[in-house]
């Protein structure tokens, strides 16, 4: 793992792919901290963070797009397979290298509250916790984007599908507001979600019948619950969407001023789950 980690880290800092995400994140942080803290006088820098998350939609896909796609395109994945390292070590090495790159802007962000505390009273702990949460959000997104990169041979396609996925997650709160809370509307949204799950199953198994079976089974269960007691469906779409949304969870750290353990656990679980899936996809390549 150590060898892969060092190699990856070196390559991120020997070309643009490491510096661009760092620059993007720092630029947005600078702009919003200037806006909120210097122009409006908020003492806490973390109020800028929910705005900075927007730039992660670009920064993280750029960071993660080459991780596995480029190995496949250049046929260097064969080297990794032939080395006496496990797939888990390869994935972990690459993932931690990306997290190290992201630690750079987050580390620099941590300086801001200390700088501001020189000029007034700042709740340092709150700011630090918010930056930690931001870093964990980055961790979850990086794992998702790395997974997307493992699916394709083209960096561009990896970046685009990563961006679309993150955009959907980012926009999910807005989408949920647009859906009426009535049981019928929820049932329709649940149906759409089940179809999406079926589609994802098809993409991964390439088996039409399994995907179809999953979708039909899901729909039957959903329909059964709906017919039995349709009040269960009131506001269900919103609940589901807010449960899977990764962006809104950081708000608790900023607006509610609490250290939200569920968010931390959620981010770590997402990161772990997608690292695991990446390892599965990379391992499965050998069987294609």
């Amino acid at each position: 793992m150590d060898a892969v980690y060092r190699k990856e880290l070196r390559s991120y800092f020997s070309n643009m792919s490491g510096y661009i995400p760092i620059a993007l994140i720092l630029m947005m942080t600078g702009i919003f901290v200037k806006l909120y803290s210097l122009n409006y006088g908020y003492p806490q820098m973390e109020v800028a963070l929910p705005n900075v998350t927007l730039v992660l939609l670009f920064a993280i896909p750029i960071l993660a797009m080459r991780s596995f796609a480029e190995e496949r395109r250049q046929k260097t994945d064969i080297l990794l397979y032939s080395l006496p390292v496990t797939t888990g070590q390869i994935v972990a090495g690459k993932y931690f290298a990306m997290m190290t790159v992201l630690a750079v802007p987050c580390g620099i962000m941590l300086l801001i509250p200390f700088l501001m505390s020189m000029y007034g009273k700042v709740n340092l702990l709150m700011s630090i916790c918010a930056v930690v949460a931001f870093y964990l959000l980055c961790a979850a997104m990086t794992a998702i984007c790395m997974f997307m990169s493992s699916l394709t041979e083209s960096q561009i396609i990896a970046a685009v599908i990563s961006f679309i996925t993150l955009l959907c997650l980012y926009a999910s709160s807005m989408i949920s507001e647009a859906i009426p809370t009535t049981p019928v509307a929820s049932f329709i949204s649940v149906t759409v979600m089940i179809c999406l799950v079926g589609l994802i199953v098809y993409v991964f198994t390439k088996n039409y019948w399994i995907a179809f079976g999953v979708a039909v089974a899901g729909e039957i269960v959903a329909l059964a619950f709906y017919l039995k007691d349709n009040t269960l469906y009131t506001g269900l779409a919103q609940k589901i969407i807010s449960a899977i949304s990764i962006f809104t969870r950081i708000d608790a750290f900023v607006t509610d001023q609490l250290f939200d353990m569920t968010a931390v656990v959620y981010y770590i679980s997402i990161a772990f789950a997608f690292c695991f899936l990446t390892a599965q996809v990379v391992d499965k390549r050998r069987y294609n």
Binding site: A3, R6, K7, Q74, I78, L79, P84, V85, T86, N288
Partner: protein, 381 residues
Amino acid sequence: MIKCYILYIKQSKEDAILIEVRNLTKKYGDHTVVNHLNFTIESGKVYGFLGPNGAGKSTTMNMITGCLAPTEGQVLIDGHDIYDEAVEAKKSVGYLPEIPPVYPDMTPYEYLRFVAKAKGVKASEITESVFSVMEETGLTEMRNRLIKNLSKGYRQRVGIAQAMLGNPSLIILDEPTVGLDPRQITEIRELIARLGQTRTIILSSHILAEVSAVCDHVMIINNGNLVASDTLENIRRDNTPDNRLLMTVRGNLEGIKTLLSGMDGIRDFSVCRSDEKEDNVYDISIELEPDTDLSEKLFFAFANAKYAVRRLAKDEPSLEEIFLSLTESAQDDDDAVPESDGGDEDDGYDEEQADKSDEKEPDDGKNDDYVPLFSKKEDDD
């Protein structure tokens, strides 16, 4: 240039079994690329793995090194299963795939350090072992250039150097001389021969000269089946059906026929007019009794009769002919099996053929995926 260094001491040249391949099969959909291969690799020999393009060479190599999972069968390296005990098994193998797996944005030195570390070379020995493989492959001067700026030949060397790191007991080289210029080919062959003195090597190729130059043992694979596995001499002997002499003689047709009919030890002969423009020049094919050599007797007999012997040679099939006959006959057998009509999902297999298709020379159309052996395009940048 020959450099013995400490790392090699451990190597023993006993006839221990290093690799055992059992029933190895790879199918893409309905298409069988590798069909129930069984063979063993003994340590201390140089093996040639020979076959036309698309025969399943690369697929087999990828399966032996754990880069591709077999549909069926097992590969044991030094007693370790390549899947169940992957890390242990892979430590004994250095692999150069068909395309050298190098990172263009790294220098050879950085790259080799990375590979050495990943192969578990001790931190204190990394620098030493990287420098010694660079020395052996002639990379020392190029060590600080980016790999993307290196020529194909040097990239190939980086790939070979990578395979040598960690002192594996087995080195597998998949078509190591493809795309190199003749001088580089000679150098790489010398390197392989040198490596073969201390380690076991499997060399895949479709270039016969290469295999005959460096290999102790040859395995010929065609359409995923092992059609021959023996030393080159044995393969040649087994495929030389009868004791035959070929002659070209200028003289009188009737006289030649009488002379030959009157000689002992000749089973049969045929005389036909030679292609040469002169009159009275004949090509003669003589079938001798087994284990007799009449060449000198024939020469003096013709000389006494004042017939000029222009050529006198044993009719041994060339390696190319043996290779062709082995691979073609197997192909005919395989064509009889309806299975070989090709699936849709055999991407790796077809790509391999597609890549090579531009190297094909016009053929009689009979053996579609055969590339003439010595006319391989040798381009270099």
